[in-house]
């Protein structure tokens, strides 16, 4: 399967999941009309970005995704979400503007400067460090389904844009391009690990985990990992991250706070969500019943030794940081001063996360069988 088709398929699956979840999470009210108009348009812009063959046309589609998702990020209309939207619009538009400049340079035959601009531009939208600064703000302020959609689908689309330019490069520049992508990938992994360990906000934690996985995808791509492994990683990450963001949205609804220290004792109050949260965190960290385990093993086995060791250490740091958070939230006694009470939430809100988990497990099973018989 080509990468565009895969990403188109993932985007579509995520759209279905997020829409079903939004029916229960957002609901149909007068003030949600804009949400229901913009969500399908946002999806349409992403499909266009996957399907348009013209490079400048793809630019138009990707810039359109920025514009259509910005009001969705500002859904709650608080001072913080306004700030997140402003940062998202300014940083991503400048990034995408640089990508347009890069596209022009590229079409004019100046491949190296063109590719550098394109990488910086679409890298901004993809959330590669050091251009990632908009991502944690936007993902933490957006409502659950929108964060899920942004993280699972939009980042992949921008990555697709980078791969298209990389494929068009003449033979002699490919090594340079791969090294640049590898460097950004490793740096993203590093930044994510550093910020995950001391994180106090569980939605920002997931946002940094997205940066980590985008870094991993970039590393896999630059090292020419096996297509099958590479594509499974993208699919498994998108599904799990969607599920985690939806669960995080539900937790926010129940507890009214994103502060990790205030949420505790999930295992007693919200049993199903506690299980989903724990499984999701373990899956995203690549614990064995996860498809990400296979893909990460594949990466570590095929990478040069220094890349493999750096990736292993950073992945371990991420795992330590995330599991500490999950254990604290599920079993912990918490900080009595800031603790919040859980409000009951509707059971319908857990339908899509459970389904996503099941699909992820199926992906894992298929991968396992393929590896077993191959």
């Amino acid at each position: 399967m080509t990468l565009s088709k895969l990403i188109l398929a993932i985007t579509t699956i995520l759209f279905v999941g997020c829409t079903i979840h939004s029916i229960f999470y957002i609901g149909f009210k007068k003030r949600t009309i804009l949400y229901w108009i913009l969500l399908p348009l946002f999806f349409a812009a992403m499909c266009a970005a996957c399907l348009i063959e013209n490079l400048a046309g793809m630019w138009v589609a990707i810039e359109a995704t920025t514009l259509l998702s910005a009001p969705l990020i500002c859904y709650h209309y608080t001072a913080e979400s306004l700030e997140a939207m402003w940062k998202y619009l300014i940083i991503c538009s400048i990034g995408i503007g640089l990508a347009l400049f890069g596209t022009l340079l590229f079409m004019n035959g100046w491949y190296i400067p063109g590719f550098v601009f394109v990488l910086a531009g679409y890298g901004t939208k993809m959330g590669l460090a050091p251009f990632h600064t908009w991502l944690p703000d936007a993902h933490s302020e957006a409502p659950g389904p929108v964060s899920a959609f942004l993280s699972g689908a939009l980042l992949n689309c921008s990555f697709l844009a980078i791969t298209r330019f990389r494929d068009l490069l003449p033979e002699e520049h490919i090594v340079f391009a791969d090294n640049a992508i590898l460097a950004l990938g490793l740096f993203s992994l590093f930044i994510a690990a550093v910020f995950i360990v001391r994180q106090t906000d569980y939605k920002r934690l997931l946002a940094y985990s997205s940066i980590e996985h985008m870094g991993l995808i970039a590393i896999m791509y630059s090292l020419h990992a096996d297509d099958f492994i590479f594509q499974s990683h993208i699919a498994a990450h998108s599904l799990t991250k969607m599920m985690l963001f939806l669960v995080a949205g539900n937790l926010l609804l129940a507890y009214g706070t994103r502060n990790i220290a205030s949420v505790h004792g999930l295992g007693r109050t919200m049993k199903l969500h506690a299980a989903l949260w724990m499984l999701g965190i373990l899956f995203i960290c690549g614990m064995p019943p996860s498809a990400l385990f296979f893909t990460e093993i594949g990466l570590v086995c095929s990478a040069p030794i220094w890349v493999a060791s750096v990736v292993m250490v950073l992945l371990f740091v991420v795992f330590a940081g995330m599991s500490k958070v999950a254990i604290g939230m599920i079993f912990g006694q918490g900080d009595k001063l800031h603790s919040a009470e859980a409000k009951p939430i509707s059971w319908t809100l857990s339908i899509v996360p459970v389904l996503a988990l099941v699909v992820h497990f199926l992906v894992f099973a298929i991968l396992f069988l393929c590896c077993f018989y191959a």
């Binding site: 046309g57 300014i90 503007g97 022009l104 944690p136 502060n259």
Partner: protein, 219 residues
């Protein structure tokens, strides 16, 4: 034809310096409108009058519509000038002047004008892009940041026009529409920011970040 193009491009140098050196938002908006008008003319001159339709739309959007929207946002939020920019106006002019000289020097040294319509185009595209980015970095008001983005986008358009890139009409319109909608949304956001934060200083937008418990105590 190239003499017209050169006159327009040379006047863009002055507009860039004007943008860097003025603290009045009205002046900035007029300067960016003039810049949009000139840049709209460029494709017409470079291609010898073929694409007059797209030229008209370009000039209408960049030279008229977007400045009107910015002026409206300026009046609504009741801001007239950029008080205390992070880099003073005199210094800004000096910096932009230095960037202009450097990009001319760089482009002459690298001989990259091979397929370009005129020698001035590439260094000017770089300078204009740099001016836009500089305005975004060095100014505090949200409106100035939007103006900076427009200048940046104009710089990219100069480059696009000068290499006579044929995207096709649809994509040209798509790019224009994207920029227009962006400025529209940013304009609405500026109004909301001025209402929520009771100022449009970007420094006030500092609630989000990874600061752990400091963030917690404030609420």
């Amino acid at each position: 034809m190239n003499i017209f193009a050169d006159i327009i491009l040379a006047s863009l140098v002055i507009i860039n310096l004007r943008l860097a050196g003025s603290s009045r938002l009205g002046t900035l908006i007029r300067a960016v409108a003039l810049q949009g008008f000139f840049i709209g003319l460029l494709p017409l001159i470079f291609t010898g009058g073929e694409h007059w339709g797209i030229t008209l739309i370009n000039i209408a959007v960049k030279g008229v519509l977007m400045p009107i929207m910015l002026t409206y946002a300026m009046k609504k939020t009741n801001t007239k000038r950029e008080l205390e920019p992070l880099v003073g106006c005199g210094k800004s002019v000096a910096i932009i002047f230095a960037i202009t000289l450097m990009s001319f020097y760089f482009c002459e040294a690298r001989h990259i004008e091979a397929e370009i319509a005129t020698r001035l185009a590439v260094p000017l595209a770089f300078t204009t892009i740099a001016t836009g980015l500089f305005l975004i970095i060095s100014r505090r008001k949200a409106i100035t940041q939007v103006i900076g983005f427009l200048v940046f986008e104009n710089g990219v358009s100069i480059f696009g026009a000068s290499i006579a890139m044929e995207y096709g009409l649809l994509i040209e319109l798509g790019i224009l529409l994207d920029v227009f909608v962006l400025v529209f949304i940013l304009g609405i956001a500026i109004y909301d920011i001025s209402r929520t934060f009771s100022s449009i200083d970007i420094d006030k937008l500092n609630h989000l970040g990874d600061r752990g418990h400091i963030h917690l105590r404030r609420h």
